[in-house]
């Protein structure tokens, strides 16, 4: 297996070099092909770890300080490597076509390759140093990718700034947590930390867990640390958004499992109450903003937050039931969490691919300016439709089994006794149900307004289908959504092996998923077959009666406009108007900003000269929490400016004083 690992490293390194050194011609092609190679090697390696169930280890103590470079790929990590690898391979393929549009500069190509390397390396890490190194590689390279278009777009700078602050703040929290754990165990190795953590005091363990939770949950877009996500995921170029949403956010979940379950062995009940609560709030906030957003990529980004919230709810339910002594429910909920992660990776990368293609073709992400793209971009539209149905949990796509498992987990968690569990789980079901409905609004809007109806602007009317590799990449992930929807055991089986559930796995069965020892069964395969059969029968019926009626063709008519002829595309419902009812229902939560400006003709108030309407729907968390925070930071910065007046001597004096203080204190 070492040879696979070395081949992976070599390919990934070569791709970054190719990105940095090759001339413009062929640069992206070479990098992308090498990246696909690297992903493949990583996939094979991870696949072997999952199938054999034994860890792959590799270390070079000289390569990094503090414990050296240590790789330890466990089956759990391998699951995340497989996910990152699949999304990375598809994104690299997509990138080849996307590079005609953007993301072809030397720096961007290098950063893209390093980002993929980081994504694949994080779950492979076997000690704290390697983990943090890979984590930072991933964070910094993705930061460069978010900012790479800063010359053309001001929003990219703002997004990069938010992202930089949040990701580095999170990294600090993670570093403190892992460093503390390592100090306690006198080793940076995760294995040693796990054995050493049993002697931790409850307070210390809780502190380390909460610190890690802050860092990792922020990576997964948990409220209130999510504010960077809708900006960064929206501003990043197409394949990078897919990587961020399809692979990077997963690693936040991986981190929570790593610290909470592997290193700290499940910990205490209230940790998981916190995780559940954060997950519930995240899911609702994400779904609400997705339902009211008019920027298609921002919508997808908020939906990522929403889905990670669901994952956190499942994780929380798992930890909760484990701590209260219901291991069967805990196992089911953990499988659910990971199945949700896998499904999300597949459908969200599909959706971001399609949205990236739309952006490349129309130079717009504002759905109010799009429309009718299904006619000019049929393949892209179809892949987006698959993603839409998958994320809305509709059979026969893969989101459906995830949602079903989540409901079963919560149902059985509620059956387990305990006041705290009862309250959290009841609220969790409510949150899941509410987000389910809101997600359908968001994605019916995203697909319906962007791809159906008539084009609302010149750029939408003149759009062309995306390049072949972009179409292929999106189709492959869309197909994966369908296959894993019809045969979910393809995913669940891998998850079972990754969790080492053995023969008593909580969910199993190729044809019928059965919960053991709990009760519950579902057969997505037969259900999908029945749906397909029913569709064929109904189509046949319609064809029969159409033939019998004697009308040879379908009449194409101008649609009904209450007697008005010549309806224009501008009369259609837009994304804003489609989401307006929800905006009104949740007015008190969202507090949108509306402004109507009417000026009348001088002669009569009954004739309008000019009317302008402006609406802004800024994130309430950003407005209520981060604005005041930024303002107070700004105030402090202004008032502390006096001590930094530019004199070198003064700065040196500060250094000297600090040195003296340290000497005195240490003494």
């Amino acid at each position: 297996m070492t040879i696979l690992f070395v081949a992976f490293l070599a390919c990934a390194g070569a791709s970054a070099l190719a990105g940095a050194l090759m001339p413009r011609q062929g640069r992206v092609l070479a990098s992308a092909v090498l990246l696909i190679g690297a992903s493949t090697f990583a996939l094979v390696l991870a696949g072997r770890v999952v199938s054999t169930g034994s860890d792959f280890t590799w270390s070079r103590s000289t390569l990094l300080p503090l414990g050296g470079l240590a790789i330890r790929l466990s089956p759990l990590g391998a699951l995340f490597v497989i996910l990152s690898g699949l999304v990375a391979a598809a994104s690299s393929l997509y990138w080849i076509g996307y590079a005609h549009h953007s993301l072809n500069a030397r720096s961007a190509a290098t950063a893209f390759c390093l980002f993929v390397l980081g994504l694949l390396a994080v779950p492979m890490a076997g000690n704290v140093t390697t983990f943090l190194f890979a984590w930072e590689l991933m964070a910094l390279s993705s930061l460069a990718l978010v900012a790479h278009d800063h010359a053309r777009r001001r929003d990219a700078i703002a997004a990069a700034r938010w992202y930089a602050v949040m990701t580095q703040g999170g990294a600090v929290a993670i570093t403190f947590s892992l460093a503390g754990l390592a100090a306690h165990a006198h080793s940076t190795s995760f294995v040693r930390i796990a054995t050493g953590a049993t002697s931790l005091t409850s307070g210390a363990a809780s502190t380390f867990f909460l610190l890690a939770l802050v860092g990792f949950a922020s990576k997964s877009g948990a409220v209130p640390l999510h504010v960077w996500l809708p900006r960064a995921h929206a501003e990043a170029p197409g394949p990078v958004s897919a990587l961020m949403s399809g692979a990077m956010v997963n690693l936040g979940i991986y981190g929570i499992i790593l610290v909470g379950r592997v290193l700290l062995h499940g910990g205490e009940q209230w940790w998981w109450l916190v995780v559940s609560a954060v997950g519930g709030v995240t899911a609702i906030v994400g779904a609400l903003y997705a339902a009211t957003s008019k920027d298609v990529k921002r919508l997808l980004a908020y939906s990522t937050s929403d889905n990670m919230g669901l994952v956190m709810m499942a994780l929380g339910a798992s930890g909760l039931t484990l701590a209260t002594g219901h291991p069967a429910v805990a196992a089911l909920a953990l499988v659910t969490a990971l199945v949700l992660v896998v499904n999300h990776s597949l459908f969200k990368s599909t959706l971001f691919f399609a949205a990236g293609s739309v952006h490349a073709a129309t130079h717009s992400r504002n759905m109010d300016e799009l429309g009718g793209l299904a006619r000019v971009m049929p393949v892209t539209a179809l892949t987006f439709l698959a993603g839409t149905l998958a994320v809305s949990a509709i059979p026969p796509l893969n989101g459906f089994t995830g949602e079903w498992l989540l409901f079963q987990s919560l149902l059985h968690a509620l059956g387990a006794h305990g006041v705290a569990a009862t309250i959290t789980v009841t609220l969790a079901v409510a949150a899941v149900a509410l987000t389910g409905g809101l997600t359908i609004i968001a994605f019916v809007k995203a697909y319906g307004i962007t791809f159906l109806g008539r084009g609302r602007s010149a750029s939408a009317l003149e759009a062309h289908e995306a390049g072949p590799t972009m179409r292929v990449a999106a189709s492959l992930t869309a197909l994966a959504c369908l296959v894993t929807g019809v045969a979910p055991y393809a995913v669940i089986g891998v998850v079972n092996r990754a969790l080492d559930n053995g023969p008593n796995s909580p969910v199993a069965g190729w044809v019928t998923l059965r919960l053991t020892p709990l009760t519950g069964a579902l057969t997505p395969l037969y259900l999908s077959a029945a749906l397909a059969g029913a569709v064929i029968l109904v189509v046949a019926w319609r064809a029969l009666v159409t033939r019998a009626s004697g009308y040879a063709r379908v009449a194409t008519l101008e649609p009904w406009g209450s007697g008005r002829h010549n309806q224009t595309a501008r009369m259609q419902y837009t994304a804003t108007s489609f989401g307006e009812p929800i905006m009104r229902v949740f007015d008190d939560v969202l507090r949108p900003d509306h402004d109507v400006d009417v000026s009348h003709v001088v002669e009569s108030r009954y004739y309008l000269e000019h009317i302008s309407y402006r609406s802004a729907n800024e994130d309430i968390v950003e407005r209520a929490l981060y604005r005041p925070l930024a303002r107070s930071l700004d105030w402090w910065a202004r008032h502390t400016r006096a001590i930094a007046n530019g004199s070198v001597h003064r700065y040196l004096a500060y250094g000297l004083v600090a040195l003296v203080i340290i000497l005195v204190v240490v003494q």
Partner: protein, 218 residues
């Protein structure tokens, strides 16, 4: 379907609970008063069922008293105020209806959590219904907090009282008749006073919203 003591009791308590939710749900004041009357019937039923089960004639008597006062007299008195009011609606509650309903749900969960020990302590089929009594008290309080209209306040007050009475019925082996009599008549007195007060307020100041009364203080 067996109409046993336990399922009858469950049903009666659920009726009281749902009517408490209804007073928050419906904006029409007439509907709230109707719900209150049904709530009184439910409460009386609880007392009668418990009394019959324990062969406690006094408790059955208390049930009859509750029926007269809370299901007939008090709603009738409040109903007279509503009947004189042209716009008998809770126009703009401080928290909108869906949010207050969600709030009621959360309060019920809280009541359930807070009374776990009490339920375990009492340990009777009636005892496990105590969370509902506490939840009704909380919902009544909540509706007094979020509703503006004076009539809504009275309805909230009566809901609180019903919740307390329900908790007392369920938790103890029976409230002494004297105590129950005193409490119930006190509430009736309060309703009479409030009814007169609200009617006077309407006549003199044309005020429905209690918040507007703040203008009177200087």
């Amino acid at each position: 379907m067996s109409l046993s003591y336990v399922s009858l009791l469950d049903l009666a308590v659920v009726v009281v609970m749902v009517t408490a939710a209804l007073t928050l749900w419906r904006q029409s004041l007439a509907a709230a008063v109707k719900a209150l009357a049904v709530q009184g019937v439910g409460l009386a039923a609880v007392a009668v069922i418990l009394g019959a089960h324990r062969h406690d004639l006094v408790l059955v008597g208390v049930g009859g008293l509750v029926l007269v006062i809370k299901a007939v007299a008090a709603p009738w008195l409040i109903g007279r105020v509503v009947a004189h009011d042209h716009a008998a609606r809770e126009a703009s509650p401080l928290i909108n209806v869906p949010a207050s309903l969600v709030g009621a749900g959360v309060l019920t969960l809280l009541a359930f959590a807070a009374t776990r020990d009490v339920v375990a302590l009492v340990g009777t089929p009636a005892g496990r219904l105590i969370p509902f009594g506490v939840a009704i008290v909380l919902i009544g309080f909540f509706s007094m907090v979020v509703r503006r209209r004076a009539v809504s306040q009275i309805v909230g007050l009566l809901t609180i009282d019903n919740g307390i009475a329900l908790t007392a019925f369920l938790g103890t082996s029976g409230v002494p008749l004297v105590v129950e009599l005193g409490v119930t008549l006190d509430v009736l007195l309060a309703v009479v006073v409030l009814q007169v007060l609200v009617a006077q307020l309407q006549r003199h100041f044309n005020v429905h919203d209690l918040d507007q009364l703040r203008d009177l203080h200087d």
